[in-house]
């Protein structure tokens, strides 16, 4: 008996009992819809975290002084003096995969402007820093190379600083603020960035030439860190190892020596955070998978009842020439049709629910083709798996007894 015929027979049997077919399908529909929705929620969260991280500068590489994670007693990295300006220059000049690079020195303290003051920190950087951290100038300008060379007492400030030092809404451009008694002229403001995914206020920021901080604020010659950005996200790994090799060479480290610096890329951080959301996705998928399993058991239950109820029909079909395999395929195809149709409806409902969540409660949603494919595959397998036993039972009936069945 050919497949077309079998499908016709199964469709007829299903349409003879529409309500039951629908109720059977319901389990599969709910299962598939929840798998799709849960995966969409999980994937959406992951994507939004990834997007936030790349907001912070996706190609960013941070170099800090200090031993690797393996060190016995570790010093605070800002106390260590292993990074020098020479390191910055050599990264700037001798690397292939680095697009931009800025030294970094920090000092925390009190900012004072007239009667207002605010505790924060000031970062000494070069103009490239803005590009590396994806910061943009709102009003005014970034300091020039000349101003860096001359250690000019100028700065750029973020929104949080402005709010606290100029609560009356005065234009901060051209104003002078004091940091540890040193006056800085505000030459620019930074566009608002809000909080990042780790809850840090990205607008609580003051940028000044690194030379100014080194000489006038901290009186040091070393630097506390280097920020760089790789040419693209794909080459960040190459870029970090390039930097590592270069710095080891600069610091004359022997092969047995540990690094006296730390190179970390934004990607590592991103991976760490997304692994958390991956875990959440897996958990959600498991819960949804259980409902799919329950749906499958529903199929088995109904198919089993259906085989008992149609014992006479099976007996008749066998007595007019149906083989056991024909009966088996008939019931199996019925189960597959139920789960297939249920699967398609479930996918549509799952997508609908995902969009509702997206526009209703503004939760980030991402429907991955693989999750659609996966849940469809699973529900088809469910149909075959749970339809198999009742179908097998049906095919093994004795035609004489089956046709006499009351």
């Amino acid at each position: 008996m050919n497949i077309g015929n079998l499908i016709k027979i199964s469709l007829r049997a299903l349409s003879n009992n529409k309500m039951r077919a629908f109720l059977t399908m319901l389990g599969i529909i709910i299962g598939v819809a929840s798998v799709i929705t849960m995966l969409a929620i999980g994937q959406g969260s992951k994507k939004s975290i990834q997007a936030q991280i790349s907001e912070m500068g996706s190609n960013m590489i941070m170099i800090q002084p200090g031993a690797g994670m393996m060190g016995g007693v570790r010093q605070s990295s800002s106390d260590m003096q292993s990074l020098k300006l020479e390191d910055y220059y050599s990264i700037l000049n001798k690397t292939k995969y680095i697009a931009a690079c800025s030294p970094s020195v920090n000092s925390s303290g009190q900012f004072i402007c007239g009667g207002n003051n605010y505790p924060s920190s000031i970062s000494g950087v070069n103009p490239e820093y803005l590009g590396i951290r994806k910061l943009t100038v709102d009003q005014g300008n970034i300091f020039t190379r000349q101003q860096v060379a001359s250690s000019a007492k100028v700065c750029l400030v973020g929104k949080t600083i402005i709010k606290n030092l100029f609560p009356n809404g005065d234009n901060p451009l051209g104003k002078v603020i004091r940091f540890n008694k040193i006056p800085f002229t505000i030459i620019g403001t930074l566009k608002e960035k809000g909080y990042n995914s780790m809850g840090m206020d990205q607008d609580n920021i003051v940028l000044a030439p690194y030379t100014t901080i080194q000489k006038r604020v901290l009186a040091i010659t070393y630097i506390q860190g280097i920020f760089a950005s790789a040419l693209s996200e794909d080459v960040t790994t190459k870029a970090t190892s390039e930097i590592e090799t270069l710095l080891r060479e600069n610091h004359k480290l022997k092969t047995t020596d540990q690094n006296d610096f730390n190179v970390r890329s934004q990607q590592e951080l991103s991976n760490m955070l997304t692994s958390t959301t991956d875990m959440m996705t897996i958990l959600l998928a498991c819960i949804a998978g259980i409902s799919l399993l329950v749906g499958g058991i529903g199929i088995m239950n109904i198919m089993y009842v259906s085989v008992t109820e149609r014992t006479r029909e099976i007996g008749l079909r066998m007595s007019i020439g149906a083989k056991g395999s024909d009966i088996l395929s008939q019931f199996l195809i019925e189960a597959i049709l139920i789960s297939f149709t249920g699967g398609i409806i479930g996918i549509l409902i799952g997508m609908g629910a995902s969009f509702l969540i997206k526009f209703g409660i503004k939760w980030p949603i991402s429907i991955q083709p693989y999750s659609v494919f996966l849940s469809f595959l699973v529900c088809t397998i469910t149909g075959v798996f749970f339809g198999w036993y009742p179908a097998k039972k049906a095919s093994e009936l004795d035609p004489i007894e089956a046709i006499r069945y009351e």
Binding site: I9, R312, L316
Partner: protein
């Protein structure tokens, strides 16, 4: 002498019920030639259905040999017997056994669905012809639950004829019908007999045996009588003789 299509040699069929062995058939032998209309009679429990199931290749004997169309049935496996039933045998049951909520046409097409030689068009043509032959050409699209008992049994007979079987087997085919309808069905069987069909008709009603060309009587799993009926009654005449019903 016409061709013999059934040959039974000392057929035995035992059923094991607990520790007890039920001897449903205790050595039955006979031959049936093409075109015979054989009635098998006997009281309830005499082994009629058991014999018919064996003849229809639904069951296999415990002992003895059965040749259908010169094929030794006992040497065949389950699937081969399925195919044999599909190509050579037509069944008519007491309780019709039509598919519920299914049209007459589709019910009749059913045996051909298990025969890959027929496409859907040919199936439709054959089924229509078969329903024509049982006088139901105006009921092709009636569903089984929209028909009377007599009509349902006609559909079942059409289903038994659709595959051009060498043998039509009927087990108490009129058992669920009133006298008039039973005679109508007998008229139909007699017509089929005239057209050359080989029919085996199981009944416990001796009246109906008068319409057949040969009478076999079973008792306790043995043949106690097997004779040619010299005076076949016409079911048509009997039907006409019945007091007219007012519709």
């Amino acid at each position: 002498m016409s061709k013999s299509i059934i040959h039974l040699e000392n057929i035995k069929r035992n059923f094991q019920v607990g520790d007890e062995t039920v001897h449903a058939l205790r050595g039955v032998s006979f031959s049936i030639s093409e075109g015979e209309f054989v009635s098998i009679m006997g009281t309830s429990g005499s082994g009629k259905s058991t014999l018919l199931n064996l003849l229809g290749c639904l069951d296999t004997p415990t002992g003895g040999e059965y040749f259908l169309d010169d094929i030794a049935v006992s040497s065949m496996n389950k699937n081969q017997r399925s195919t044999l039933r599909n190509r050579k045998i037509g069944f008519v049951f007491q309780s019709y056994n039509l598919l519920a909520k299914t049209t007459a046409l589709e019910n009749v097409e059913l045996p051909l669905q298990y025969n890959p030689d027929y496409g859907s068009k040919e199936r439709r043509i054959k089924a229509t012809e078969a329903l024509d032959a049982v006088g139901l050409s105006d009921r092709l699209y009636h569903k089984s639950n929209q028909m009377s008992g007599g009509q349902m049994q006609r559909v079942a007979i059409a289903r038994a004829l659709v595959n051009d079987p060498v043998l039509v087997l009927a087990d108490e085919a009129t058992g669920n019908l009133d006298t008039r309808t039973a005679y109508e069905i007998m008229v139909l069987f007699q017509e089929l007999h005239k057209k050359g069909r080989t029919i085996i008709f199981v009944t416990h009603n001796p009246e109906l045996a008068a319409f057949t060309s040969r009478n076999i009587v079973l008792r306790d799993g043995k043949i106690i009588k097997d004779e040619i009926n010299e005076h076949i009654e016409s079911a048509k005449k009997m039907l006409d003789a019945l007091p007219k019903q007012d519709d």
